[in-house]
């Protein structure tokens, strides 16, 4: 699903690389935690998967495509196969829950009939039935993140990228979000999630990839949080 082949990313005007010779492979259907202190390269790792950045050296493969050779006009079509969730939800405040989810389909030109059918379905999957017409500011943080997850998942992507999805949520709410991500994973979606939340990583017992200073320092199946010594 994802293959990093000796990937180095050096941003312009910076001395040390954000990622330094990282090689890692993530299989289809896996659930992977990406951990490490701030500035360790987690965000760069995720941005490379989304092809928001290109590697300075090495190659990134996602869903059978070598992203360095993906032409610009194909990028949007590539991104349709990936769902993305962020710490800050990134919802449109002037649209309702259903409209926020529908927006993701409208802008890739899906027909209205299709939208009317799949939006209620996905809202049910994430547990937001009955809240279709609420606006984001009328929802709790956990509910807002569920809307964001619904939007990421409505196109049934093969891969879900979650950048600290529980970073703004209290522990109880976080558990609910993790259960939801776990469910989507069991439906066959590959999930890559960066996090600082040690409780979650320790409880879930999934594969853990740890970055530090741009180096891959740990890759452990069924791992726990705790920085490598």
């Amino acid at each position: 699903m994802i293959l990093f082949d000796h990937v180095t990313k050096l941003y312009p005007n910076q001395q040390s690389p954000a990622l330094d010779d990282v090689s890692v492979e993530i299989e289809k259907g896996e659930f992977v935690f990406l951990v490490g202190p701030s500035g360790s390269g987690k965000s760069t790792f995720l941005r490379l998967i989304l092809r928001e950045e290109r590697p300075t050296k090495g190659a990134v493969w996602v869903a059978g495509k070598e992203l360095g050779h993906l032409s610009n006009w194909k990028i949007p079509y590539f991104r349709r196969e990936i769902g993305t969730v962020f710490q800050d939800f990134r919802l449109l405040p002037n649209k309702t829950v259903a409209e926020n989810v529908a927006f993701a389909l409208e802008v890739i030109g899906k027909p209205k009939a299709h939208i009317n059918k799949v939006v209620p379905e996905v809202l049910e999957v994430v547990g937001l039935e009955g809240k279709e017409d609420r606006r984001p500011d009328e929802l709790s943080g956990g509910e807002q993140q569920r809307v964001a997850i619904a939007r990421a998942f409505v196109n049934r992507p093969m891969l879900l990228i979650a950048d600290e999805p529980t970073g703004n949520l209290d522990p109880g709410t976080s558990v609910g979000i993790m259960q939801l991500l776990d469910r989507l994973n069991r439906l066959g979606t590959t999930v890559v999630m960066s996090t600082h939340d040690s409780n979650i990583v320790d409880q879930m017992r999934r594969r853990v990839i740890e970055l530090e200073g741009g180096h891959l320092v740990r890759d452990q199946s069924r791992g726990v949080y705790g920085y490598a010594q």
Binding site: R80, F103, V107
Partner: protein, 302 residues
């Protein structure tokens, strides 16, 4: 492509950015109005050229008894000289289109008609007016050929080209046209800068939407289209205003005010206005579209 979605986005965008939209509409209208004015002036000059060049002639004035130019040192033109000039003119066909000889008596008669009711008419005697050949050229720009053949030859006092007098006038109009064009181009540059800035503000104020669109894989075309349509819409509205001003100029200024007082010449017709209008519309929309496109490429990068 979902037209309804795009239309909704365009409508939102125009409303949200109302002041900037108005600014774009007005500058586009002013700059294209000037541009159209310059084009109309050019059409006017070419209409007048067509009209006048048909009528202008080269006059070859022959020596009379009182002439004091060096070529007239031999006194009034002789019959032999006159016949030679006539023969040479005939030989210059087809450049020379028609030849008309005006005798002193005819010149006197024309003079009397022209200055009727004026005391000058009483003070001029027939012998003071030169006889002349009036020559119409098939190509009025080749005046020099005739002038060099006859100027300074014995018996010829002066070769006069009416076109040169007209050209001074046309140069004046040409200068006006150049000034209008220069202002129009300056205004168009201002317009482009304004559109660039408007698009930047629009892209910034909608960065949340566009970042989500990028995220979920909307194509560049889909992301940029509402912005492009907004720019095109504003420019189109401005161009329509400019066209309206042009129509008004033709109907009121040219047809009702200027034309009645200058009946000796012809003025641009509606065909010129009809030809200029689409030029303005296309220039406006294309310019705005391109300015928007290149700005957005920078601010809405994938």
């Amino acid at each position: 492509m979902r037209a309804q979605f795009v239309a909704r986005e365009v409508g939102h965008g125009l409303k949200r950015n109302l002041t900037m939209t108005l600014a774009v509409i007005i500058t586009v209208a002013v700059s294209l109005g000037l541009f159209g004015g310059a084009l109309l002036l050019r059409a006017q000059v070419s209409t007048m050229k067509d009209f006048w060049y048909d009528k202008v002639e080269v006059s070859i004035f022959l020596c009379s008894a009182g002439s004091d130019t060096p070529s007239c040192s031999g006194g009034a033109v002789t019959k032999a000289q006159r016949n030679q000039i006539q023969k040479d003119l005939e030989s210059m066909k087809p450049l020379v289109d028609t030849i008309y000889y005006e005798s002193q008596a005819e010149a006197y008669q024309h003079f009397q008609e022209q200055f009727k009711n004026s005391p000058i008419a009483d003070n001029v005697r027939e012998s003071a007016l030169p006889e002349s050949y009036r020559v119409k050229l098939s190509d009025p720009t080749k005046y020099e050929v005739v002038a060099s053949a006859f100027a300074g030859r014995p018996g010829v006092e002066q070769v006069n080209d009416q076109r040169q007098i007209l050209d001074k006038f046309f140069k004046l109009l040409g200068g006006l046209q150049a000034i209008a064009l220069a202002i129009a181009v300056t205004m168009l540059v201002v317009t482009v800068l304004l559109i660039v800035n408007t698009m930047r503000v629009a892209a910034f104020s909608r960065r949340r939407e566009t970042s989500i669109m990028r995220l979920v894989g909307a194509s560049n075309f889909y992301i940029q289209l509402p912005f492009l349509l907004e720019a095109a819409f504003a420019a189109g509205a401005g161009a329509l205003l400019a066209i309206g001003a042009l129509v008004l100029t033709k109907a009121v200024l040219v047809d009702s005010i200027v034309a009645p007082s200058f009946q000796f010449t012809s003025f641009v017709g509606w065909d010129a206005v009809v030809a200029i209008a689409p030029v303005l519309l296309i220039t406006g929309i294309l310019l705005a579209g391109l300015a928007a496109f290149f700005t957005l490429r920078k601010y809405l990068r994938v």
